[in-house]
């Protein structure tokens, strides 16, 4: 088990290094820079700026400086926000984004499990058809459309909730639903199909034949064997939550990391882009690591290699 953990950790670190290097190369190759403006800067000023941000050094030295910075958790200065470093900006905005992501995940799990269970148990009934249809819609509707629809309905027409704030529980409802809808639909559909398969297995017939109560059959036997596929998609799902958070934070004007990322891209604030990319990668690597651990815990066969 320990070798397994170490191996996964090393793999995670390799991914982070790979992404860090790739971003570095991409952004050094990218045409134009943060200091290109309509008005040409005098060459002396430009030279001073380049010295300040070490842009006059050879690339290899810049690269090593950048890697050393990452190890020391120093992500460098922002080109655009002169009073704050990249690390401060991330520390300011990450909690908001993390809260949004967690709320959406909890929402998705709370909606999808009952729905998937009921749909699978009463398969082909009207309730199953209805949830399948809703799930298909949920997977296909883009975040910005769902967000706009919810704002229009609940904020503009009904006036029940306000949009464009992030300071009390009520203001978090619509963004959470917007971000969590697609994962909810996805998990529900997945759970439904794996449960239907599980309910057809021999060990379910055995459990029923033993005279087990129906809820014990469903929860103890069928559901348990259907959890593995759901666990498998948690990694990609985290990636989807990250992608979704860019849009949801934009639509609801939430001061999270995703919104800063979009602004950083428009501003070509390269250190900020690299920093946020790294944090996202670290989150994904961490999520995948947790999934691997749970997987190894649930299914002993995986620990072997």
């Amino acid at each position: 088990m320990l070798t397994f953990i170490l191996q996964r950790l090393l793999h995670g670190l390799a991914v982070i290094w790979f992404v860090a290097t790739l971003t570095f190369i991409l952004l050094r190759l990218a045409p134009g820079g943060p200091f290109d403006s309509e008005r040409k800067l005098p060459p002396e000023v430009l030279a001073n700026i380049e010295t300040k941000y070490h842009l006059d050094e050879p690339l290899s030295k810049q690269y090593l400086r950048y890697l050393a910075g990452i190890i020391h958790l120093d992500l460098g200065p922002s080109y655009k926000y002169l009073d704050r470093g990249v690390k401060e900006i991330i520390l300011d905005t990450l909690p908001t984004s993390a809260l949004l992501g967690l709320l959406a995940l909890v929402f998705a799990l709370m909606v999808s499990f009952p729905t998937g269970l009921i749909a699978a148990y009463f398969r082909n009934s009207w309730i199953d058809r209805f949830s399948l249809l809703t799930a298909t819609f949920g997977i296909s509707v883009p975040h910005f459309i769902l967000g706009a629809l919810l704002i229009w309905l609940f904020a503009v027409q009904l006036g029940w909730l306000q949009a464009g704030r992030w300071d009390n529980t009520a203001s978090m409802i619509l963004p959470t639903i917007t971000l969590g809808a697609a994962p909810a639909a996805y998990i529900a559909a997945l759970l439904r199909s794996t449960l239907i398969e599980a309910l057809g297995e021999d060990f379910i017939r055995t459990a029923r034949a033993k005279g087990l109560r129906e809820d014990a059959v469903l929860f103890k036997h069928a559901l348990r064997s259907s959890l593995l596929p759901v666990l498998t998609v948690m990694g990609p799902l985290t990636a989807a939550l990250v992608t979704g958070s860019f849009v949801v934070e934009y639509v609801f004007a939430i001061p999270g990391m995703g919104r800063f990322f979009i602004t950083a891209v428009t501003d070509r604030d390269y250190p900020l882009i690299m920093g946020v990319t790294l944090v996202y990668t670290a989150i994904l690597v961490g999520a995948n690591f947790l999934v691997d651990l749970c997987y190894a815990y649930v299914d002993p066969r995986i620990r072997v290699y």
């Binding site: 990218a30 298909t136 883009p142 910005f144 459309i145 629809l149 990609p236 990636a239 992608t243």
Partner: protein, 282 residues
Amino acid sequence: MARSNQQKNGRVSDRLFIFSLVFVVAIAAAGFLAPWISPYGAGGFEEKQILEAPSLAHLMGTDGLGRDLLTRVLFGARVSMAVGIGTALIALVIGSAYGLISGFIGGNLDHLMMRLVDIFYGLPDMLIFILLSLLFGRNIGGLLLALGLVSWVRFARIARGQMLQAKEFLFVEGARAMGASRRRIILHHILPNILGPIIVTLTFSIPAAILAESTLSFIGLGINDPYSAWGTSWGSLAQDGWRAMRTYPHILFFPATAIFLTVLAFNTLGNALSDLLNPRGK
């Protein structure tokens, strides 16, 4: 009982398949025929009819510059379809070539090549896309290339898996025994056998690209000049509508519905195709 249910489901799925196919073809046709079937010209600026609600003269109403929204949505279909199909084809070429080569060679190189795919697969599409678009610039060519480079990994995985399977087929071994070249084996024996899953993946990557492009345009990171004469993407139209949503919801409603229905139709088509081409998976 079980059998009759299956038959019933089969019919429903067939109907859905045909319905979504017709819808997708109709949208594509509408896009490519936009200059001829649009009720108004593409550029028209009419200050007398700004922000009109839908009416018989303007079925989807008009926008903030008095342009007919139906016309704009039709021209937008052209952009979205071109982006979707173009991206899918680029991803198909890059991904299949990569996967086929990786699977065909096997061994350590295969292992290394697939590790790279794993890493790309785990990263959020939008993140890679935004980074790439900084490199390629925000024009239509750069957009296609960046989107293609984001979605190639799915093809690489499928192509490699199919290649590994196909290598074991007896007719491939037979061809090799007869001294056929690698090129010939890949093109004449293996490729025809792996077309099914690749077509399914292709069908799914078109709506994914349409969705990615419209989302990027919506958050302002799409094509830099969204007002070209060739057409404005649905995402940019939706962003126009988003700004005016509180007072003129129709400007957002129609482009958003177009995006939603098109993505839904493509996804339904993909599901139906994967059932059709892989009956065992049911």
